[in-house]
């Protein structure tokens, strides 16, 4: 009894001790990911080269649009308020296309996640791609995991300072190139590049290059996995996208356990295949142990699969101790009774797929029906209407005609649903009151005219009458209309 009491007391006091010793805030443990080769590493390199290639090179694509228009294939000209995407010109009032693409992106992400887990995080997220690039630089300059860990423990030396300095310099150069490439999407790339180096570019350009250089350097160089674990909202709600049929990076516990060291020639009877080499932990960019099961920090990059494949082939055991698999299939496999097919088609994926198709077709239809001209009419309200000496009633309107093409166009402006009405352009020379007016709309711009609409004394409808302004392209068949009202005295 007495010894038990003592034992208990000791245990409880040691528990107290550990509680009071542990700080309220745990410092970050620096992650030193080890280099690995293998199938998924190759896929990651390929995706990295592809995505970075697109990001850095697209602003340099040229596209001839004729004189007066920029020759950059993709240019989001904020100053000129036009988005140039090959032969498509997007005006500010059409930014709703962005909404469509954002919805597509979100639903696409849902679909990919419910099928393959966090492939976005593991392979194509900018944070992952740039961190991968920065880690590659780090490895080239500072060596692999063990060398880096050793050097970080050592006191400062010329060698250490030189390597660290070189690493940060290369990081900053990559970061600056990243910020620079971002700016090139908004301005003419070749001429701006020259201006940047000559110190002639605008303050805004230097500011945004500086800002994106700083964020790239900080997020990919220093913050790394903390962005995924603490800053990014996606891991928080990915659980809602995943289910037991999603492919995720899986450690096959039923096969691997009980784990333990293994010497060549020892029997594999009565033990698991995991030899506890720790390679899967060493290569993990977020510093977790996949053998603990699916967890928040796992970005699904598959590097631990490569690591385990390497180890399993060394000890000559079946590959795939860590593999892409679903929870449902693992459950069946664990019982040892056959295997289950992967269900890619299930209500969730069908719904996401259908949603994707619907949104994509809506965008496509809206885009196909898009007009190259646009009409906007605003009635002048002060005064509401004017009584002329003949007794006729006149309203005036500000009419704006958008010509989205690269050539001037001729339009016929008329008013419908108001019998007897005549139109005149304010400030036109001479007396030109007619039923329809001829207007010229300059290329790639909005032409504004003030239009006087007059209804003779006898045929003025009382109060407010809905009418419709219509423009017709005199050469083509395009027609655009805009509703308005005609206001007269209320008898």
């Amino acid at each position: 009894m007495a010894s038990m009491d003592k034992n208990l007391k000791e245990r409880s006091s040691s528990a107290n001790m550990s509680l009071s010793d542990s700080p309220l805030y745990a410092d970050r443990t620096k992650v030193y990911p080890r280099a690995i080769t293998g199938r998924w590493r190759r896929v990651k390199w390929a995706v990295l080269v592809l995505l970075l290639g697109i990001y850095y090179l697209v602003p340099w694509l040229r596209w001839d649009r004729g004189p007066g228009a920029p020759n950059q294939a993709i240019l989001l000209d904020l100053d000129g308020r036009r988005g140039w995407i090959f032969d498509i010109v997007i005006w500010p009032q059409e930014v709703y296309f962005i909404t469509g693409f954002l919805i597509l992106g979100a639903v696409g992400l849902f679909l990919a996640t419910s099928l393959f887990g966090r492939v976005w995080c593991g392979f194509s997220c900018p944070q992952t791609v740039w961190t991968d690039l920065f880690m590659m630089v780090e490895r080239l300059i500072e060596g692999d995991r063990n060398e880096r860990m050793r050097r970080d423990r050592e006191p400062m030396s010329v060698n250490k300072a030189a390597r660290k300095g070189a690493k940060h310099l290369v990081w900053l150069m990559i970061a600056a190139a990243t910020g620079g490439a971002w700016v090139f999407y908004y301005v003419d790339a070749p001429s701006t590049l020259v201006k940047i180096f000559r110190g002639e570019a605008s303050k805004e350009i230097y500011f945004f290059i500086g800002l994106l250089t700083a964020t790239t350097y900080t997020l990919a160089g220093w913050a790394r996995e903390q962005v995924c674990t603490y800053m990014c909202p996606w891991p928080r709600f990915q659980a809602a996208m995943l289910d037991e049929q999603s492919l995720i990076v899986t450690y096959q516990k039923w096969r691997g356990e009980p784990r333990g060291k293994h010497k060549a020639g020892d029997t594999w009877e009565g033990r698991g295949d995991c030899i506890d080499c720790g390679l899967c932990v060493a290569v993990c960019p977020t510093g977790i142990d996949i053998r603990d099961g699916q967890q928040l920090e796992c970005i699904g990059c598959g590097l631990c699969i490569d690591a385990c494949t390497q180890t399993m082939s060394k000890v000559d055991r079946p590959l795939g101790l860590i593999r892409w698999d679903t929870l449902a299939r693992q459950q069946v496999r664990a019982t040892g009774k056959g295997s289950l097919k992967w269900r890619a088609i299930r209500p969730r994926t069908v719904l996401y797929g259908a949603l994707l198709a619907i949104v994509a077709s809506v965008i496509l239809v809206v885009f196909a029906l898009r007009n190259d001209s646009d009409l906007s009419v605003q009635r002048d309200r002060s005064p509401n209407f004017v009584r002329l000496s003949s007794g006729a009633i006149r309203n005036s309107y500000t009419v704006k005609i958008s010509n989205k093409t690269q050539a001037p166009r001729q339009f016929q402006l008329a008013v419908e649903q108001l019998p007897g009405a005549t139109l005149a352009i304010a400030n036109a020379e001479g007396d030109s009151t007619t039923a329809a007016q001829h207007l010229t709309a300059e290329a790639n711009s909005v032409s504004t005219v003030r239009v006087l609409l007059t209804v003779p004394a006898g045929s003025v409808p009382p109060g407010s009458t809905p009418i419709e302004f219509v423009i017709r392209d005199e050469q083509g068949h395009e027609r655009a209309s805009h509703g308005a009202v005609f206001v007269g005295p209320t008898r």
């Binding site: 509680l19 009071s20 309220l24 002048d380 309200r381 002060s382 005064p383 004017v386 009584r387 002329l388 000496s389 003949s390 007794g391 006149r394 005036s396 304010a426 400030n427 020379e429 003030r450 006087l452």
Partner: protein, 286 residues
């Protein structure tokens, strides 16, 4: 209050020594980022109050070493703006008013400048959109007292109506009733006749005779008015002082003589040109 500062086991931080019902308060140090931001703010405040106007004083305030002043900055901005506008203003001053319309860029500037000047000096009487008020003419319609061509509008704005300026439009309608030129019955008859010109009453021979004897000199034999004299057109259903019978009776009995300032005495010529172009462009210009 007794204070007993002790070390907290869990956090390793001292307590403040205060205790309320067994609850002790940790004396957690401020986060260093907060503290350094605070120090930086103090340093900034000192530097700022030395460089910029900051402290109230008995006879004003400290002006700061670099001599910054918001008033000076405003003056500078206004000067810069005036300089930017001067290019157009000078061209408007040099261009005959009728030719301004031929240059779309100059014309647009004139309309915008005219609108701005109108909102400052004209809208008090003529309304924000130029639609006028009782006794203040509507500038949007096509009925003009002193003429609706660009030059006539310019002249009216520059010299005004019935004011002390020698060149202002001058005319005076007699007070037919009040000065006993006509009897009340005659005024009543001619009021009916005037109404009949726009088809709102039946003309009587008596009214017609009074009109022909007293009114045609200015308003013309058909009542169509005379812009030389600022005599309104009586046939068009547009009334400056009201078109109902009582209003017309009063106008004849007491007469009206509206006045408008000579804006040439107060505004520069370019502004008056812009105003004329703006008013002409409202829709009623001839």
């Amino acid at each position: 209050m007794p204070t007993k500062i002790e070390k907290d086991q869990l956090s390793g931080t001292d307590t403040t020594g205060h205790e309320w019902d067994g609850i002790k308060e940790l004396n957690t140090p401020l986060p260093s980022w907060w503290l350094y931001t605070f120090y930086a703010c103090i340093a900034f405040a000192i530097v700022y109050s030395v460089l910029y106007p900051a402290w109230p004083w008995f006879n004003g305030h400290t002006t700061g070493l670099i001599g910054y002043s918001t008033r000076a900055e405003l003056t500078q901005e206004l000067d810069a703006q005036a300089k930017a506008r001067a290019v157009f203003i000078d061209r408007i001053r040099a261009t005959p008013i009728g030719d301004i319309r031929k240059d779309p860029e100059l014309f647009n500037f004139a309309v915008a400048g005219g609108r701005s000047a109108f909102q400052t000096t004209c809208m008090q009487c003529h309304g924000a959109g130029g639609a006028g008020n009782l006794g203040f003419p509507n500038l949007v319609d096509d009925d003009w007292l002193w003429g609706g061509t660009l030059d006539q509008i310019y002249t009216t704005i520059r010299y005004g109506v019935r004011n002390a300026n020698d060149k202002s439009h001058q005319s005076q309608m007699p007070r037919f009733g009040a000065d006993q030129i006509l009897t009340a019955a005659q005024v009543s008859a001619v009021a009916d006749y005037v109404l009949s010109l726009s088809g709102k009453a039946k003309a009587t021979p008596e009214g017609k005779k009074v009109f022909e004897d007293n009114c045609v000199a200015c308003h013309g034999p058909e009542g169509k008015g005379n812009q030389e004299l600022g005599a309104p057109n009586l046939t068009d259903g547009i009334w400056l002082y009201g078109g109902d019978r009582q209003s017309i009776y009063n106008s004849i009995f007491y007469a009206h003589a509206g006045s408008m300032p000579a804006w040439g005495d107060r505004l520069d010529d370019a502004t008056i040109k812009m105003l004329a172009i703006y008013v002409h462009n409202l829709g009623g210009g001839r």
